[in-house]
Amino acid sequence: MTPLPTSGLGVDLDVAAYALRLGDDALVLGQRLAEWAARSPQIEEDVALLNLALDQLGAARSLLTHAGRLLGPDADGHVRTEDDLAFLRDEPDWTNALLVELDGGDFGRTMARQLLVSAYQVPLYAALGSSADEGIAGVAGKAVKEVAYSLDHARSWVVRLGDGTDESHRRVQTGLDEVWPYAFELFERDPLVDRLLERGVAADPAAIEQQWQATVQEVLAEATLTVPETTWRPTGGRRGAHTTGFGYLLAELQHLHRSHPGARW
């Protein structure tokens, strides 16, 4: 690769970090969804879940590529690619929210998590469509339709499981109870978000949370599910402090790539 000058060329560490958060969320959720291949409740659902996975992975690739450019060249003059960022970062450098890295559990829990994430991604990408950062706006403009479909899918299933049989109601409620506390990390503000809000790059977490609440409450009511009552708010993903299970996810994701340093695939 041609060495690039080490400064200039649109390096923007704040926007890079924000794009990485978005990209990490998408990649890790895509990885979790893809784990359903050949083991979903019916063959039609294999097709559907892999569609959701492909949408997340597609957005992740664009966001990581964008982040790599904004990070600027490393000490050797190398601009990090999507694969460098996906396969060569260690756990503390990953800034996805904890919610997306949680084990999918059974289909009830997977759909409960999907509902919470999609109900967040829809207003998020809608807002980011007019981000001052063109790269992020471009990805968001395309992804907003995809996540709308994901939300529709999650909603369809949460309603059917919640208002289905006693067993399905119990299972999806359990899954919801387990993932619910992790949702609130999605709406946290920190100095990075503050700076990017000022620049018109980031989406306003408070506005998104409001829309998220409206969507989620409506779906849970239709599904005859109970909104979990807990004040526990696990957090840490945005600063690289992850759950135990995340190390295993990364091990699986990265081992082959790392076993052959410098190889092309």
Binding site: L27, Q31, A34, E35, A37, A38, R39, S40, P41, Q42, I43, E44, E45, D46, V47, L50, N51, A53, L54, L57, G58, A60, R61, L64, E82, D83, A86, F87, D106, F107, G108, V159, R160, L161, D163, G164, T165, E167, S168, R171, E252, L253, H255, L256, H257, H260, G262, A263, R264, W265
Partner: protein, 321 residues
Amino acid sequence: MAPVQTQSTDELERAFQDAVDADGRIEPRDWMPEGYRRTLVRQIAQHAHSEIIGMQPEGNWITRAPSLRRKCILVAKVQDEAGHGLYLYSAAETLGVDREELLDLLHTGRQKYSTIFNYPTTSWADVAAIGWLVDGAAIMNQVPLTRCSYGPYARAMVRVCKEESFHQRQGFEAMSVLAQGTPAQRRMAQDALDRWWWPSLMMFGPSDTDSPNSARSMAWGIKRFSNDELRQRFVDATVPQAEHLGLTVPDPDLRFDEATGHYAFGEIDWTEFATVMRGDGPCNRERLAHRVGAHEDGAWVREAAAAYAAKQAGRGAREAA
């Protein structure tokens, strides 16, 4: 309306055979010999089972794919296999069977699927080899089926073949990157070819002389070419590709025969084929157990969906009343 006249079975059979001989298409509600119907159900069902079980050996590598591009390609491909299974079950159902019943026959081991999926995928190169060799062999089999005498099967195969063309190509591309890669990658590629070559040749089935039912399937327009013809076609197409990759086909007897214009190849180990078909291949038990497990684990979800649909229908009826 009552049928205008009743034809004897002989007349019906003659009309059916005439239609097939004239390269016509038989459609679901047409009269057809019971043997034709049963042959088709069995064949289409086992074809569908092969697609569904075939998701496992490659699906196994999705979470470990070495680049994001390869991961997306693999997810799309495994998803296509689920889709192809569904197209095929849908074609089988036009013959009056129920998918759930066919799945039972698969889950209880009474219907089979292709032996090729009973081999393990132990390295990334196996994903490449499956695309290149296994899908390559599948295309040889499937393209003629687009002209099968049974309309719904032929139409499903048109759709499948259109989608499948990318499968083989991505496999060859992945293999070629490995073959030009690091020494470890090249070793991986050669090892995968060594392990998948012979099972791929077995995919075409035993020699025609040992396949008495083939003749009947040909007369019915279900099968267009013999097992040996298709296998030869595959070898002729694939050997030059292996040479292009700089890989060695694991067959000391392989040579190009100037006289026939075809590659001559060594003896296939049919004992191994029979062993794997019987259920004693390296992964038979694992594949089936995985499939049955997914189906059983998902039962509560399917029941929930049915219960919800029934409740909704009840609500609709009450509102209408």
